[in-house]
């Protein structure tokens, strides 16, 4: 298996074909966004005369600048809060072996099983009563709570695997538990922080139903909702629609391609079980 044989070559050919088929929809998406609306050629045919008109039209008509800002605000603050509170909570859950710690971990894990639909409506009424409907802060609040169980799960597993020696050395040097957490544990678990950040950024940025509910009717929309209302308006103008799609997935795609090694590795390292 260490040499490149003809079998490897056949496998390579098959896999490349599969890869092309998988990537084809993404190609159609970008290809169509670059075509003029009156271009009648097949969506598979490469664009002959490139236009950027669709992009500027979509940008203006879908109010995408504002949506990107709102999405960025919600994503940055939610993920920062999720990382801070989950890592902090995981420390005693991983290190304290008393009964309350085990029970609390179990209580957090119940959250992994509860479907969000159950809490959806009661929480909606609470947010409404607090007067936060239409305010992106409601989303930050929501994601910070929703994503705690999974993030706590990842952090707790990771911290349990960190040898006590480092903290012991720190405590001999006179560091209290606070100091130990911030200067020893948190830097040590950086790989899992990467996983937590990636998974949560993807979830928060891409979520559709929650902002659809909480921000409906307000002028501030996140990207998926802005797309949704934009497409409902221009449903048959696919060139325009696809330009809108390209603009909104561009930040994620650029970040992904720029950091793909870190992302794929970070994504997998925490998740494989």
């Amino acid at each position: 298996m260490n040499r490149y044989t003809w079998r490897t070559f056949v496998l390579e050919a098959v896999m490349v074909l599969v890869g092309v088929v998988f990537f084809l929809p993404v190609y159609v998406l970008i290809n169509l966004a670059l075509k003029k609306p009156d271009d009648q050629s097949s969506p598979l045919a490469p664009v002959t005369s490139i236009t950027l008109q669709n992009f500027s039209d979509a940008w203006g008509q879908a109010n995408l600048g504002q949506a990107l800002l709102t999405s960025a605000f919600v994503t940055v603050f939610s993920v920062a809060i999720i990382v801070a509170i989950s890592a902090l909570a995981a420390y005693p859950l991983a290190r304290v072996t008393k009964r309350w710690s085990r029970w609390l971990f179990f209580v957090f894990m119940i959250g992994l099983l509860l479907p969000f639909q159950l809490a959806l409506i009661p929480l909606y009424t609470t947010i409404r009563d607090l007067g936060l409907l239409g305010n992106p802060v409601s989303l930050v609040l929501y994601y910070a709570g929703l994503q705690v169980p999974f993030s706590v799960f990842l952090y707790t597993g990771f911290i349990r695997a960190v040898p006590l020696d480092y903290e012991e050395a720190a405590s001999i040097d006179g560091a209290g538990p606070m100091r130990s957490f911030f200067s020893v544990i948190f830097p040590l678990v950086r790989p899992i922080t990467g996983t937590v950040v990636i998974l949560n950024v993807l979830h928060v940025w891409n979520d559709f139903l929650t902002p659809l509910l909480y921000l409906s009717g307000s002028s501030q929309q996140t990207v998926p909702v802005a797309l949704f209302s934009f497409v409902s308006q221009y449903v048959s103008q696919w060139n325009l629609v696809f330009a809108g799609l390209v603009i909104t997935i561009a930040p994620i795609l650029i970040a992904y391609f720029a950091m793909q090694k870190t992302i794929i590795k970070g994504f997998a390292s925490g998740l494989k079980g």
Partner: protein, 318 residues
């Protein structure tokens, strides 16, 4: 092996449902001092406010006739659940949701596993392929929904390709035909998340010992026996995580369905999520929507604990 890899292997063990009671408990605090319990408070506060309390509240509302707005609500016992059983749209949604979850779980993981096995070889394009195949997983599901809605229109790219190869018999109105619309949505989701499963399987494959593989090859074990006896045990934790993620994702599916068909044609692709949304926010029927959510919760709990039990043993025997 880099330090990140060895640490992630450690996670794999730490996250397994193992020994909660460790005798060295007393020794931990002796060595590092008491870890403050109040560190859990901020996370607990957010969690209780957003997830735990509203879920309990929601479970309670399912037994009332609250419409979501009026001040009055009466206890109606199991009336909402009986309604669900006699409502063809409700029963349909339950069936569709289970079909979607089951088929996505099977197909997505099978495709993901095959892709992982294909990429985890000596082929030169493996790094490019890994990136390309994972790309759909980072795209907003609303966007992939619209993309595939377009590809699946009667004169869209898929039918054009089929026509090009002379396969006109296979051309369909993918989303307009009530018999296949559900499977078209499943295909879209599988396309998007097969790379997601692949990456998790790939991480598991890193742990497969090359020398054991080589030895079993020399002993005359074919590719299937090698996979079953050498590779599969190493993959057990990855399989558990993958199945769990796809079951939960499938049972909750909303975005793609809402964007591609809104539950149509008719009610042929309504899932529990779309029906809950319609009942609660379009028809003002809060309690009925919540009763459905409660049924969905029970499904999620049963299915995920069943597969956890089923595969937990394998993972443990690793």
């Amino acid at each position: 092996m880099s330090s990140a890899d060895s640490q992630s292997l450690a996670v794999a063990e730490a996250a397994a449902p193992v020994p909660l009671a460790r005798p060295r408990g007393a020794r931990i605090s002796a060595r590092i001092g008491a870890v403050p319990w109040w560190f859990v408070l901020p996370a607990l506060a957010f969690y209780v406010f957003v997830v735990l309390w509203p879920s309990i509240e929601g479970a309670g509302f399912a037994f009332t006739n609250w419409d979501g707005l009026s001040a009055t609500k009466d206890f109606v016992g199991f009336a909402q659940f009986q309604r669900l059983l006699t409502d063809p749209a409700g029963v349909g949604a339950v069936v569709h949701t289970l079909l979607i979850a089951l088929s996505i779980t099977i197909v997505q993981n099978l495709v993901g596993l095959l892709l992982a096995l294909g990429v985890h070889t000596k082929i030169k394009s493996r790094n490019v392929l890994r990136v390309a195949l994972f790309t759909p997983a980072v795209i907003t599901p609303v966007a992939t929904g619209y993309l595939w809605k377009y590809l699946m229109t009667p004169d869209g790219a898929i039918n054009q390709i089929l026509g090009f190869f002379g396969l006109t018999a296979l051309q369909h109105d993918w989303l307009g035909d009530a018999n296949i619309a559900l499977w078209s949505i499943v295909a879209t989701v599988v396309w998007q998340f097969a790379g997601y499963s692949m990456v998790i399987f790939l991480a598991g494959l890193q742990g497969v010992p090359e020398d054991v593989l080589e030895a079993s090859r020399l002993d005359g074990a074919g590719p299937f026996r090698r996979f079953w006896y050498v590779v599969r045990p190493e993959l057990a934790p990855a399989i558990t995580i993958n199945l769990m993620l796809s079951i939960i994702g499938g049972l909750k599916l909303f975005d793609q369905v809402w964007v591609m068909t809104s539950g149509g044609p008719g009610t042929s692709t309504d899932t529990m999520s779309t029906l809950i949304y319609k009942n609660a926010f379009q028809f003002g029927d809060f309690s009925y929507g919540i009763a459905m959510a409660l049924v969905l919760a029970v499904f999620v709990a049963i299915l995920s604990s069943a597969q956890y039990k089923l595969l937990g043993r394998q993972g443990g025997s690793k």
